[in-house]
Symmetry: C2
Subunit: 651 residues, 2 copies
């Protein structure tokens, strides 16, 4: 599949954008006019740079407000177009995007497709003189033409070799147009395909389009189905990203380009799966296969067949199943710092046992049942201790790593001794190292091996990671594409320093259990001059351990003098008003600083520890299939933690 | 007017919120339940603190999902309510807000106002036992009750002394409900009034409400008209702010509270004006008086009469006319720094003349026609030179300052010698000092007085100030309430580091001229790790001078070796494609690095200088009533400036 990206997706100057797109591996770019107009590079220099970078210049865009205008304006528009055609000749670009008119369309021609055809025919004739192809696109908010089928009918009527259509997923899916009829357009009359994903927002389509588009896999559009229709037309041109996003415009250009490339690789694979599934069961063609290679997903042979069946060849990746558990979590801390001792004390008070030091590194292993935590005392940065790495249980680590690398994940450089387990890791967008583990043999490198335990043993229930705002969407795509986790609808909870947005990524329920739960949290950015918070407010993260009997665990922890997060009395009064709990049970919650929640499936009990550096711990008990995270209790936690931090900062 | 604020408007802990509200001068607060539940203060301690602070506890809120439910849930809801009524007794709060059901309303009762009346009657009876008053409110997204008139009909049917209604401007105006019928509700049955403003957004009302509310005067709702209706009912209770806003939740609690208080003072005055205007001309009751006390605005006597005519007394402020010009701009710079010399050189190259040193301070005056720029070489902070003060021409400085102080503006402390003009200044939200000037006698304190000049003389056309993101809305309210400037619809332009939002504040057109134009710019926050920008990207600001013949000015500046901002050749090619300019004229633009724009009224010519510190200059010529700022050219400027800054940073 030929991949492309519009320069408007990226931050920086035109030159920076082109270099970043090439470095990320794109086949071509769309030159967004404003990027050229504001650039000191001449068209010839842009062309030479793209050639040097082996980057195609696939589209010049946008050309606006051409059709449905009175004759005088039509002639002015032709003159304007000719200037751009000449410019394209200097750039070496052969295709221009012409959008349906939004600003100057005359009401007199509201229903006059005949006039539109005539004007587009005139444009196509002029284009032919300059060796240019015109791709006519229906904008979702076009005055008279806002439906891709309408745009195509006009193009079909004109029937000129230099006029085709451009399909843009945002303009089509935001309006909810049926995508089935795409297959009735001959592939050679589709001159360009632009893709963007978006969260499903209920707002005016223009603002939704200009600010909230995201890369494929970061939103909620069914893009594999769309691209499946396109593939069946015989289209074999670029599949190019056009994503207007306020954050991407502000983010580092090189990493945004990599995120973008990952999204197209993901889309390519998902499209191949969609086509293979549809071919295998034509009746269920519309059904989307589950994330990863779950039950019923197409086989490698079916995928390969699907990718060979269409002119648009679809490369696929090594297939992996979603992880079956969290193998370990690693916390980095500075060697011999007081906070390291505090962290180790906290683990001991929680009931973790020290399994000794690593043979060669300043690293220790702590376990509680099947929950493994590594305390790494080398190279701490920022507010330490902090969560630095997560291990995920996978069927085949070699395949999983190969997949991650093909998805442009960056391998973490590791030095291993000859006799050590070789653990492979890649870096998540927030810098967390993600290890892909097939077993726990690595634990033998510590003094005492940790015994494997049964089903009721404590284990890591979930991990909550703080995300920098500029990598939030990237994080969603990373964990879904690399690890086959499934994003849930995002939630917001209030804190004293602002709203915290939380995005849960998890595996599917298997026999009432979820193997992996990961929450990505976007906390408000705290600045010294804006609010009486501390920078730690922004980057708190935690590890939650599931235990079979939380009350017993809490009592044991209390006996070990664990510093609990103290819950205000007002919380328990509100809890009682909401749930009418048994007085004895309520008294136990109160006594032990436990929090409580209930959903339609069951009950949730949990408590939190004090924070060390930017890390704290949570102990949880899920009863009867409760499937949440106690979100209604999160504001209480945030408020108490905030008060502790500001009190500490004031000291 | 009794003023109030809901604790949810503010950041921080409950204690911080109460202290900030009291300090800003609020009469009372609404306790938002989550703020109490998460607080370590007992209800009795909250009550005692409020008494200490002389702050009323006027409302407990919200109580959700009460009505339209089956009997079993109704009984559970009564139990839940009773717990809250007891809590209110401990807090000493006598009114609770009950919202129409959004979560648990049963479809069986969709049209059953009889059942709703019965259930609310039961609640009112229970409330009476506890000495509590229930204020029932229709949420804009209530399942069955989403219209204030509907809520009122039910309350009227119940006819119980402990049941009244709550009117909330957001829930009423966001749905576009007619506000006229408010006057048919007896004032004593309105138990509470909540006010919020909002920009007019086309999005789902729940998200609009939860994230985008702003304080009165910062959005687009017609709140004076609304409050006029309320005043006419005889209502005399609190007018309380309930504003859910992502930024305010993150901002410093004390300054947000002051911003909030200013908004109510503004609203009080605007309501009095609305009532006075309506009384003076009953036919035009709906017409809103213009900002400030423009032509045809009510007299002080009429205002006073209006404020006495209703139980809700409306205090008014000293009246001021919008400013008639920009008296001067001050740029702060460090004494003897190379950048100060660079700044003074730039002014000289622009044609400014040095009018000498101030008699007693390290301050110099530069003039070009009627444009006065002060270079202040004391106390520079941040990236200097930077714009530090603006002088506005007002009719009466004493009145203008009195008004500003009543609007909670902070006076700038000044030390003046006995024989100096006493200039009075207040601080704008971004820290800019705003001077209120009646004349230019102060210029005599410099070596040579600057001569007064005629109509065609150069003058300050506009000032463009960078705003910190957390004070953007506050800035809009400050300049409209204190200086009687009128906000225009905001605009966005792209830059290499993200979108720049621009909010123009200006005086009305008088004979085709605008006396004052001010643009507040919100630039993307540049962080070192997120984009290859520099922190200066965020805080660029400029002073624009209008001249009668820009081409001549540009030639003269070029002869003086002014460092122009160099405009890329691609810009001129695009300009030609868009406007088909005369070749000779285009050649002149190109030769002199001039930019060009056109609107329906006329043409605009302008150029920019290089930047010193965070300040640059623009020279403009408005031809034939052009009324914009050359916004289509802003991306070119941003791109060129960004390239220069990153090149300099790389050196």
């Amino acid at each position: 599949m030929r991949t492309g990206i519009a320069t408007v997706c990226l931050s920086g100057t035109l030159e920076q954008k082109l270099r970043a797109a090439a470095k990320a591996g794109f086949g071509g770019v769309e030159i967004f006019e404003a990027d050229l107009v504001t650039s000191p590079l001449s068209p010839e220099e842009v062309r030479a740079l793209a050639e040097d970078l082996d980057l195609g210049l696939d589209l010049y865009q946008p050309f606006r407000d051409f059709d449905s205008v009175p004759d005088e304006l039509y002639r002015a528009n032709l003159r304007r177009a000719e200037a751009k055609f000449k410019l394209m000749g200097r750039l070496g670009i052969d295709t221009i995007l012409v959008c349906s008119n939004v600003a100057t369309a005359s009401a007199a021609y509201a229903d006059d497709d005949g006039l539109r055809a005539e004007q587009l025919h005139g444009l196509a004739e002029l284009a032919a003189d300059h060796g240019v192809k015109v791709a006519y696109e229906a904008l979702a908010w076009g005055t008279f033409v806002n439906d891709y089928e309408h745009a195509w009918r006009i193009v079909a009527d004109v029937d000129h070799p230099n006029l085709g259509t451009c399909l843009d997923t945002f303009h089509i899916l935001s309006r909810g147009w049926d995508t089935e009829p795409i297959e009735r357009i001959p592939g050679e009359k589709i001159f360009f395909v632009q893709v963007a994903d978006a969260p499903k927002l209920s707002m005016d389509v223009l603002n939704w389009s200009r600010h909230y588009r995201v890369f494929p896999g970061e939103g909620q559009f069914d893009l594999p189905k769309f691209l499946g229709h396109v593939a069946r037309t015989g289209y074999n041109g670029p599949v190019s990203l056009e994503v207007f996003n306020d954050t991407f415009r502000q983010s580092d250009v090189e990493r945004t380009a990599v995120d973008a490339m990952r999204s197209l690789i993901w889309l390519e694979e998902r499209t191949a799966k969609h086509l293979a599934a549809a071919a295998a069961s034509p009746a269920g063609a519309a059904a989307e296969p589950a994330a990863g290679a779950g039950v019923g997903a197409p086989t490698a042979a079916q995928l390969a067949a699907a990718s060979r069946a269409y002119p648009m060849s679809l490369t696929t990746l090594p297939q992996v199943a979603p992880p079956s558990g969290i193998n370990f979590a690693e916390v980095k801390s500075a060697d011999a710092a007081p906070s390291t001792l505090e962290l180790e004390q906290l683990l001991a008070q929680l009931g973790f046992e020290s399994r000794g030091e690593h043979r060669t590194k300043p690293v220790s292993l702590w376990t509680l049942g099947e929950a493994r935590i590594i305390v790494n005392r080398q190279q701490a940065r920022g507010v330490a201790p902090a969560i630095s790495a997560l291990g995920f249980d996978v069927d085949n680590a070699v395949t999983a790593v190969a997949r991650a690398l093909q998805l442009k994940a960056v391998a973490v450089p590791r030095t291993s001794q000859a006799n050590e387990e070789v653990l492979q890791a890649v870096q998540a967008p927030d810098g967390t190292e993600v290890f892909l583990c097939q077993d726990t043999l690595w634990t033998e490198e510590f003094g005492q091996g940790a015994p494997a335990l049964g089903g009721q043993a404590p284990r890591i229930d979930h991990i909550n990671l703080a995300q920098p705002w500029q990598h939030y969407d990237e994080g969603v795509l990373f964990y879904s594409s690399v690890l086959a986790l499934t994003p849930q609808p995002s939630q917001e909870v209030s804190s004293p320093t602002g709203l915290v947005r939380s995005q849960v990524m998890q595996t599917e329920l298997v026999e009432g259990e979820r193997a992996v739960r990961l929450a990505l949290n976007l906390a408000p950015w705290v600045q010294a001059d804006s609010v009486r918070g501390t920078v730690e407010d922004t980057f708190q993260e935690h590890i939650a351990i599931a235990v079979p009997d939380l009350v017993a665990t809490a009592r044991a922890c209390r006996a070990r003098k664990l510093p609990f997060l103290r819950i205000p009395e007002n919380y328990y009064e509100d809890l009682d008003a909401r749930f009418a709990l048994e007085p004895e049970f309520l008294a136990t919650l109160r006594e032990l600083d436990l929090l409580y929640d209930r959903d339609e499936k069951g009950d949730f009990l949990h408590f939190y520890t004090a924070t060390v550096g930017s890390v704290f711990f949570e102990m949880v008990q899920r009863i009867g299939g409760y499937d949440g995270f106690g979100a209604p209790n999160a504001p209480v936690r945030h408020a108490v933690q905030h008060s502790l931090r500001t009190a500490r900062a004031a000291r």
